[in-house]
């Protein structure tokens, strides 16, 4: 894993060096003084052999020092730190929605295999992955905000409302501060973007749940469970579902990348103050330090999530534990 991270840094570094122009110029705002430029040269090791420059790059990345964003005139790390909570909360809520709704529909379709419900699910899940996130977002806003006036159309909180900062995640923060009313407000703001982000994934999870449940249902231990006298819900939830989870977790792991890239689009559509919007802003003005910082953070997050998925496997399936290293 560390090797991969290193190679990722190498890739970004290579791309950076391939950009035409003086590296120092690229990394520094227009109105920088010669001292700033000199300091930058030293920090990034510019002028020294490429290998040393790469070393500087890696060291800086590890220290979470990506320089200063010229658009925001602020430390890149600080900027990311401010906004990463928003992205994490959005992704978490979206994942939660996708898993819960997906599992429910998948189990339902598996139990009603071959019926109309099953067919509808099949169609809806293909349709769900065929629509781009930004379109779904706009459509949902059109429906729920503009027409029905039920939900806000953008942002994370209404102007003037503040939630005390504990974790950076608004809903838990509000609850922890004893203000469930604020949590409710925050929830209303996160619902549409999270649903938009979850859209395609619901269909994917539902489909794999369905097929996985059907496969697990053919296993002998299901007969054993029935022969013990267990009721249908007990067989489904205590025996079938846990065994069906493994392929489902696999698919969720594979979809995490899509979740991250989708979040960038969704954040832009909903003016959600996360690092996705930040990336968009950075890219619009060719703010290289900020871009690099966000790319490194996103990629590290992705790698970390994959590791967590692997750990989750081991937690679910005892057969993987005795085998040792994964």
């Amino acid at each position: 894993m560390l090797v991969v991270l290193l190679l990722v840094c190498l890739t970004i570094f290579t791309m950076l060096r391939l950009v035409p122009g003086d590296a120092a110029e690229l990394l520094v705002p227009e109105d920088a003084t010669p001292e700033d430029v000199a300091r930058l040269r030293e920090q990034w090791g510019l002028g020294q052999p490429i290998f040393v420059q790469f070393l500087h790059f890696v060291v800086n990345a590890v220290r979470l020092d990506f320089g200063v964003s010229y658009r925001f005139r602020d430390d890149v790390t600080h900027l990311i730190g401010q906004r990463i909570g928003a992205t994490l909360e959005l992704a978490a809520v979206a994942l939660l929605i996708a898993i819960v709704v997906g599992l429910v529909f998948g189990i339902w379709a598996a139990l009603r295999k071959g019926t109309l419900v099953d067919g509808i699910l099949s169609v809806l899940s293909i349709a769900g992955v065929s629509a781009p996130h930004f379109w779904i977002g706009i459509m949902l806003v059109l429906l729920f905000s503009a027409n029905l006036n039920l939900l806000p159309s953008g942002g994370r909180l209404p102007y003037g409302i503040d939630i005390p900062h504990v974790t950076g995640l608004l809903i838990p923060d509000a609850l922890l501060s004893g203000r469930p009313d604020l949590a409710w407000i925050a929830l209303q703001y996160v619902v549409l973007p999270a649903t938009t982000l979850a859209f395609g994934m619901i269909g994917i999870i539902a489909r794999i749940t369905r097929s996985s449940m059907i496969d697990a249902g053919q296993e002998e231990f299901v007969f054993t469970a029935v022969a013990k006298g267990l009721s249908v819900p007990a067989v489904v939830f205590r025996h079938l579902l846990p065994n069906a989870l493994i392929p489902i977790v696999t698919i969720i792991g594979l979809e995490l990348g899509g979740l991250i890239s989708g979040s960038i689009i969704v954040e832009v559509v909903f003016s959600w103050p996360g690092i996705g919007t930040l990336l968009f802003q950075a890219v619009s003005v060719r703010d290289i330090p900020l871009t690099i910082g966000i790319v490194v953070v996103y990629t590290s997050l992705f790698i970390l999530l994959n590791v967590l998925v692997d750990l989750l496997y081991m937690a679910i399936d005892p057969r993987l534990r005795t085998k040792g290293a994964l």
Binding site: F223, A225, A227, K228, R238, P318, R319
Partner: protein, 332 residues
Amino acid sequence: MQAIDTASETETRPVLVADGLSLAVRGASGLTPIVEDISFAIARGECFALIGESGSGKTMIARAIMQLLPKSLLEIKGRLIFQGRDIASADAATMRSLRGRQIGMIFQEPMSSLNPLMMIGRQIDEAMQVHGVLDRRQRRDRVRQLLADVRFDAPDEIRQKYPHELSGGMRQRIMIAMAIANEPALLIADEPTTALDVSIQAEVMEILSRLRRKYHLSVLFISHDLSLVYQHADRIGVLYSGVLMETGPAQALIHHPRHPYPAALISCAPRRRTAGQRLKGIEGMVPSLAAPLPGCRFAPRCSRASDDCRAGRIAATHNADGTMVRCLHPLS
């Protein structure tokens, strides 16, 4: 719901009676018959072996008793009387209360019959918890005792293990422990040793016999192997192509079979005595019940068949000594 029997009635009344049982499977092309007009009785504490080759329908009988397949798939005609109640037409709730409590079942494939994600102790515990008989501590003690019953020396160790850490023979013993956890009246064993090594087979059979005596269990033992049931069964029923050809006490049936089919089976069984003798077989193959065959279904392969054997359905002859033969020319 019937009234609870008195102790004497429980002792004398057969645990399971199949009366004119016919099973058919509902598929895309309609109803496929599996077994026809099966009748037998299992007394308390008795081991009744149902012998048949693959395709004879014996597994389906086991599944029908437990109603493991939905009624939309498996059609049951006739009566299945368990402890005085007809369960062929019982509803789901009744079946659930019987399964694992009054009727236990063990299956053929121990490698896949246990939930791979659950600890052994938990799976056995679940068999009792579901019927709410004992409290947690009592169940824990009972699990230990059951594991000792099925010959595990270190019950506390085994309790914490997962199925993949155990061999096939060990898993089958766990299955037995689960099936008898609530001291059922009837244990259905569907080819429990077929997938096991010969040495483990003997061990499992011995455990079953011992438990049968200890708990006064009636056992419906389904197998294709006559030699296996020779030592352990009290009575045997021979199934051929979905029809019960002969039933009778085990020793008598094996030494003096009356129906040509079991006679042929027994003569085919390799014996130690005469070396150099060729292995015998019965020519032909078992027809499925779905294949239309007027008359006796064994006739095409029978050396004693005559024209009236092929004419129409052969009725069962019930003898005074409690045996049954379905043949027009039985051996004496």
